[in-house]
């Protein structure tokens, strides 16, 4: 039995999508946890979904990072509960200090919704174990603030420690400024914490998990988590 919790902030709008995808892939019911609650029920996996938590007021993710539930999410994450932040969830992870850097306005200044190619940089995280390093997958993005920024030292450290998880590429896996949809530094689409158990990513794997929706490349993010959770149970 996989116990997954999805945190619902006011303004979250991919919460149901993640729940649907997780339940379809894992076969286990998912708990929806309200932002005002003090604790997350004991979970094998916590997802911070996409959306516009608190209307993106102040700064994307900034207010959600201060909500009551996040104190417990941060504590559980530090103790080893795997956490996946998708889109706004990635922004919240950065704002709450679980991941370094910040997501700025896209270079074009526009919201962008389209499928992009991602080069999987590592299979050494809780959410990418079922991919092969170097593999190219197709997953949609949908954001106005996905332009990843961190100082050079941080970027070097992320790369040095193998914590860049996904990079924007073309279908052949070439990573270049032309293949970056939003201006993110070093084409970074997703990163991990040093343990590989906390991952933030701008693309939406839950949107391409079945053929009917146009592709299945996002599915293995969740399958990796199931494999990881089963392994953790021994």
């Amino acid at each position: 039995m996989l116990r997954a919790s999805v945190i619902v902030f006011p303004g979250s709008n991919c919460d149901r999508d993640v729940k649907t995808a997780l339940e379809a892939i894992t076969g286990f019911p998912v708990k929806m946890v309200w932002h005002g609650d003090a604790t997350v029920p004991s979970s094998d996996l916590i997802v911070l979904p996409g959306g516009f938590s608190y209307g993106d007021y102040l700064r994307c993710g900034a207010m959600a990072a201060q909500s009551p539930i996040m104190r417990d999410v941060v504590e559980k994450a530090r103790k080893g509960t795997p956490v996946l932040g998708i889109c706004n969830g990635f922004q919240i992870l950065c704002e709450s200090g679980l991941l370094p850097g910040v997501l700025m306005r896209n270079k074009s200044l526009h919201f962008i919704c389209r499928d992009v190619h991602l080069k999987v940089e590592t299979d050494k995280t809780f959410f990418t174990g079922c991919y092969r390093p170097g593999e190219v997958i197709r997953v949609p993005i949908a954001h106005a603030e996905g332009n990843y920024f961190a100082d050079t030292e941080t970027l070097d450290r992320l790369e040095g420690e193998g914590r860049v998880v996904f990079r924007y590429s073309d279908a052949e896996g070439t990573v270049s400024p032309e293949t970056c949809p939003n201006g993110a530094q070093r084409n970074i689409a997703g990163i991990a914490d040093p343990t590989g158990r906390i991952v933030g990513m701008m693309p939406h794997p839950e949107r391409l998990y079945e053929k009917m929706l146009g592709g299945t490349d996002g599915r293995r993010v969740f399958e990796s988590a199931v494999v990881g959770a089963v392994a953790a149970m021994g």
Partner: protein, 742 residues
């Protein structure tokens, strides 16, 4: 001018409220006394064209509005149709033209917000947004600014609320230079036993206000939307409402949570004319009176008067009538979502709307009079005279058909709209099956195998030439787009955008348009279940091209059998079904290549449409076609090129080898004619004969026109046109234009 109940009403005050002198006399007669200023304000919005449909009602009554699947036709917040298995679709389209011209971002954003409220008010979760946008000529100095503002406003609102914007259309035409059109459509899903209406039935019930606070924005918005523009229209900017999609998202969740209880008797959103219109409509439909105490209305600003509160069009507000004693339970839900909640009145048996503020009666009016006394005009009209047809031989041939195709594909009329729809989140909610860029958008009915298809269409140049035929064509184009994805068309919503109805030629366009719509809907058994009329779309006395936008909704029984326009297999044969006459009158070819528009628009044969639509749907469900595209703007060659481009990114997909045409028509009329009732099908060669034969059995012509393969469009005697080149031309215009490079 609006501070107390005893001020005398001067003719200037009446004129400032948009009432004609004879309308004011009518009001005096009805009331038997001079109105208080708040009462004058209330009547002015209720009698505005926008709220009362005073010029159009008499004609709208002639539209077919019932059918086997219709649960609720026009008259409620939105139309409701039955999808079977207890599922219902609730949908409507509405204009926000005037505000969007004045303040494009907020005008468009609140248009989207308003139409979604119309839909979730009735108990539906919004699942798909569409929009129909008409801008002025690209060279007009304001066009770029308006496109940019409207598109980001639509995206900014819909993306945040988390409802996918899945389809729509964008036109550029000098006729909209001074008055753009922003028509927003929303489709929602509900359970048939959980549909909510607006009739406030019962006496002594709490009237509850929820959502955002009331501010001074949007006062007289409905009146503005019922007037022509002139050079001073910019001064009306303060009448444009300001939207907050975050609050809307919370309001949707709170209302749906509330609706899952059985505490609500009636619910209505506060749209145009805000508190005034919602209270009077709810009271009138319920046959009761309402006493409002404005002291309890949540207010954003200090010192607001009764007049301002009754006329404010602040966004994201709803009014509910609850069962007695359920207030605390309701309040807890709305507070949880961080929204205001206030009991602002009660229903009464007096039949009067009484508005109290600080202990003073600011309005005391009989509800039935308020709701139903608006003037109804049978305005004089001239029947438009349709032009004579243009024979294909009279329209000059291009130097090369593929060259003409390139020119057309790189024009504002046919270039890719990707720059627009990539700014809309079209995948949130995780059920988008048919993304933008195809014939109709398809979203799965969540948790089922059923699909909802939706599209909006109209070809304004056809309507301008012949409003009756042009509107008929708009209806059948939505019908074809639905059939082309494999959906059974169910019903439409309409958004009638016209000029000043007080001019007989404009009224004549409207009358003819309604006639065309009525006939098409009746014959196709495709009723009108909701709609909106936007008149006075004029600037300095010049009206817009008549633009009856039609939004069609259809049902796909099983999403395992849906079609799209992408070519998929090398070696498939392309078959055109439908009658070919080479109709070039009012065609895009004529407009772009010949640089003129003349003659009659293509005629519509409703019986043929039904036959062709049925055949296409059957073939899709039997998995006998690998791609389908309806033929519309630009004709056959354009449709085939679109299918090829859709088959791979940046021209990397499948090309087509076209067979030489050996019939009697001029070749360019075959390639670019806009004859109606036609589809292109991509079919496995082993099945081609069967498809052709089945069309013939229905007396529908069918002709094999090409074969898929290669990386170019190949036409005998002409230089092959590489898809990569065509893609670049097609994708280039809009981004370059918006970057100021054209």
């Amino acid at each position: 001018m609006q501070d107390n109940a005893t001020s005398t009403i001067t003719p200037e005050t009446v004129a400032a409220h948009g009432l004609k002198p004879d309308e004011y006399q009518r009001l005096l007669k009805i009331l038997g006394r001079e109105p208080r200023i708040t009462e004058l304000g209330i009547f002015s919005v209720m009698w505005s064209e926008h709220c009362s449909y005073k010029s159009s009602r008499v004609w709208l009554k002639t539209l077919p509005t019932s059918g086997a699947r219709v649960i609720q036709g026009p008259g409620e917040n939105a139309g409701v149709v039955d999808l079977g298995d207890g599922d219902a679709a609730i949908f409507k389209m509405e204009s926000h033209n005037h505000p969007s011209y004045i303040e494009p971002y907020q005008g468009a954003a609140t248009g989207v917000g308003g139409i979604m409220r119309d839909v979730f008010t009735m108990g539906a979760r919004p699942v798909a947004n569409l929009n129909a946008l008409r801008f002025g000529d690209p060279s007009h100095p304001k066009t770029r600014h308006l496109v940019s503002g409207v598109v980001s406003g639509i995206g900014g609102y819909g993306n945040c609320v988390g409802v996918p914007t899945v389809g729509g259309e964008v036109n550029f035409d000098a006729g909209y230079n001074g008055n753009i059109l922003v028509n927003a459509m929303c489709v929602g899903l509900a359970r048939t036993d959980k549909i909510f209406y607006s009739a406030a039935k019962g006496v002594g019930l709490p009237v509850v206000y929820v959502g955002s606070k009331t501010g001074r924005d949007g006062i007289h918005g409905a009146t503005m939307a019922s007037a022509e523009f002139d050079d001073k229209s910019e001064e009306k900017r303060p009448t444009v409402q300001v939207g907050d999609p975050f609050t809307e998202k919370l309001l949707i969740e709170a209302c749906l949570e509330m609706m899952a209880t059985d505490a609500i008797i009636a619910i209505q959103d506060m749209g145009a004319a805000g508190l005034t219109s919602s209270t009077s409509e709810m009271a009138d439909k319920g046959g009761v009176g309402i006493t409002l105490d404005l002291d309890h209305v949540p207010q954003r600003e200090e010192g607001m008067t009764a007049y301002e509160m009754m006329l404010s069009e602040s966004q994201e507000r709803m009014l509910m009538i609850l069962k007695p004693g359920r207030e605390a339970e309701a309040e807890a839900i709305f507070r949880k979502w961080g929204l205001d909640f206030a009991v602002v009145g009660t229903t009464t048996d007096t039949g009067r709307m009484i508005v109290m503020h600080k202990g003073v009666v600011e309005a005391d009016l009989p509800v039935p009079v308020l709701a139903n006394s608006a003037p109804m005009y049978e305005r004089p009209w001239f029947a438009p005279v349709p032009p004579q047809p243009v024979l294909p031989q009279w329209v000059k041939a291009p130097n090369g058909n593929l060259d003409a195709l390139k020119t057309m594909f790189g024009s504002p009329a046919l270039c890719s709209r990707r720059w627009v729809w990539e700014q809309y989140d079209h995948m949130v909610m995780g059920d988008t099956i048919g993304r933008p860029g195809g014939d109709a958008a398809v979203v799965r009915v969540h948790g089922t195998q059923k699909g909802l298809a939706a599209t909006c269409d109209v070809t304004p140049r056809y309507v301008a030439a012949d409003p009756e035929m042009g509107t008929k064509q708009a209806v059948v184009e939505t019908w074809r787009n639905l059939c082309a994805v494999g959906a059974d068309p169910i019903a439409i919503t309409d958004n009638m955008n016209f000029g000043n109805p007080e001019r007989p030629e404009i009224m004549g366009q409207f009358v003819a348009s309604v006639r065309g719509m009525a006939e098409a809907c009746r014959v196709l058994d495709y009723p009108v279940v909701s709609g909106n009329v936007s008149l006075y779309n004029e600037t300095n006395g010049v009206g817009i091209p008549p633009t009856p936008a039609i939004g069609g909704v259809g049902l796909i029984p099983d999403v395992a059998h849906v079609a799209d326009i992408k070519l998929k297999r090398e070696g498939d044969l392309l078959i055109v079904i439908g009658r070919e006459q080479g109709w070039l009158g009012q065609s895009l070819y004529q407009q772009i290549i010949c640089e003129k528009l003349e003659g009659a628009p293509p005629p519509v044969d409703l019986a043929d449409e039904i036959k062709a639509g049925r055949l296409v749907r059957a073939l899709i469900r039997e998995d006998k076609v690998s791609a389908v595209h309806d033929l519309s703007d630009g004709g056959l060659l354009v449709a085939i090129a679109e299918m090829a481009l859709a088959s791979g990114e940046k021209g990397s997909g499948l090309g087509v080898e076209l067979f030489a045409y050996e019939g009697k028509l001029p070749a360019h009329a075959v390639w670019f004619g806009e004859d109606q009732g036609r589809y292109v099908l991509a079919v496995d060669p082993a099945r081609a004969e069967e498809v052709v034969e089945r069309a013939r059995l229905l007396a529908l012509p069918a002709r094999i026109v090409g074969r898929t393969g290669g990386d170019a469009i190949v036409l005998k005697g002409e230089e092959p046109l590489k898809l990569t080149e065509l893609a670049e031309i097609n994708e280039g215009w809009l981004p370059n234009y918006m970057a100021g490079e054209i």
